[in-house]
Amino acid sequence: MKKALEIALGIVTSVGGFLEIGSITTAAQGGASFRFQLIWAILLGGLCLIFLVEQSGRLAAVSRHTITDAIRERFGFNYFIFLLIILSLVILLVLGAEIGGVCVALEFITGVGFQWWAVPVALLIWLIIWKGTFSFIEDGASILGLVTVCFLVAAIVLHPPWKEVAHGALPTLPASDKAHYWFIVVSILGASISPYLMFFYSSGAVEDKWDESYINANRAISVLGMSFGTVLSVAVLIVSALVYLPRGIQVEHYSQLPLMLIDAFGYWGFILFAASLGIACLGATLEITLEIAYMVAQGFGWNWSENQRPREEARFSLVYTVIIILGALLVVVGIDPLKLTIFSMALTAATLPVAIVPFLFLMNDEAYMHEHRNGFLSNAVVIFIIGMTFVLAVVTIPLEIFGGG
């Protein structure tokens, strides 16, 4: 019975923790500019994420080591430092965008500028991590995150032409604005295949003390959890296509976002959007802050766990404290959260190979995986993803210039 409960909890947390400012903004932009044409990009991103999350969980369950542990232990200190520097910088920008998301949600409700909220929000995040345990943070934030299901309800309430929606699941080329089209595809993929999600998932599996018996649970959680999450992203795109496109509104400023749910739920739509954005971004902020600290601690072999008191892991606690301060600084300085989001999603897409290539070796490593090594299908998918991420890495910068957000 305990395992069934854990599976349910795992799925719930994946759904609740899926949407954040990156997936909401890129899906909203996709819908507002190209109606349903970009649904395929969200589905492709979701599919890749399912495979990578399942593998991260399997590695953690079988070897009791996280992805970052294995990367340091197998590829050596130099590659680990290279990965740490690149990923931490990119993920720190994403953290700034997420903290910006929480502050912007507070601005919608209170009318007080988002910059003023940066410090109180940072303090709140720090307090939750300082006092909370892993399960309290992971389960608490994600269960609250279920409010984001309102996007799915809104999409249904607005009666989209389902046939045309289904047609959007097939990749098609746009008539005009090609550069902008492909730039949004890149940012959607960057938003869905987010390294911090996979790494955090593997750290979570170790924190929850998974072992070989969790392999099927891991598969159920990653497949069902991520699929429902992807459905929510598609729902955001559908709502945006039905609300913004007919009015000719292009999503270019965060203040345009809360209008999304007004057609469906009126005043409560406005409040629901602010609540969804705030809670989803808060959950993401907690995950990202912990993940960067996990990466540092795991790479250097320190004692790390959110379930221990800060005293027992002083370096780990110091790292996440510094990270929250840096993330909050990005918002205090007044960088536009929407522009920071788009930029950080594109940058994530451009740096994916660094995080994905190790999967190919680690998942076939006998010492770590014993008999649970990747099958042919998983390996084929990882090789496809690596190929795709190299293409993404090459095209993202030029696309940013020509088709920028």
């Binding site: 601005e107 919608f108 409700i109 209170t110 009318g111 007080v112 500028g113 008539a175 005009s176 090609k178 550069a179 009015r247 000719g248 509104i249 292009q250 270019e252 400023h253 203040s255 345009q256 809360p258 209008l259 007004i262 009126g266 005043y267 739509g269 406005f270 090459v394 095209v395 030029p398 696309l399 020509f402 088709g403």
Partner: protein
């Protein structure tokens, strides 16, 4: 054993192919983004329409109490700021014919004026004046959209 190119020959062949691929990629991206003046004006006007439509949507939502006043005030402010920016960018792009630029800037100025009005009415309870401004905004928006559809091939 097929004749093996030695290490250096094979790697420099690979380099040439790589550089060629990159060149083609950059050229194709550049091609599809070179904008003629008409396209550039069209793109700027689409942003202007986007902000006009945003302001109208917020105005209507404010009338029916569907948004909070603080949010509405801030959004009108952002709309005003961005409309000014658009006006400046159009002013700076010399390759657009002068009278088209002037026409566009005049339209933007009218929009800015209405949005300014709306911002000042957010606190006031004068719903009649509010809906009158929203109507005016709708008229301006329609004229902009029709001029956009008129002179452009794109949908």
């Amino acid at each position: 054993m097929p004749v093996m190119l030695n290490e250096t020959e094979r790697s420099c062949a690979k380099n040439i192919r790589l550089r060629l691929l990159l060149l083609i990629l950059l050229a194709s991206l550049a091609a599809c983004s070179s904008q003629s003046p008409a396209d550039k004006l069209h793109k700027e006007l689409r942003t202007v329409v986007s902000w006009a439509a945003t302001s109208r949507m917020v105005g209507e939502a404010l009338q029916n109490g569907k948004v909070l006043q603080g949010y509405a005030a801030r959004t009108f402010e952002a709309a005003g700021r961005n409309l000014q920016e658009e006006s400046r960018t159009i002013d700076k792009s010399a390759d657009i014919p002068a009278e088209e630029r002037a026409g566009a800037q005049a339209q933007i100025a009218r929009l800015e004026q209405i949005v300014g009005q709306l911002k000042s009415m957010v606190e006031g309870k004068d719903n009649a004046a509010l809906s009158q401004q929203v109507e005016q905004l709708k008229v301006e928006e329609q004229s902009l959209k029709s001029s956009l559809r008129g002179d452009s091939s794109q949908p």
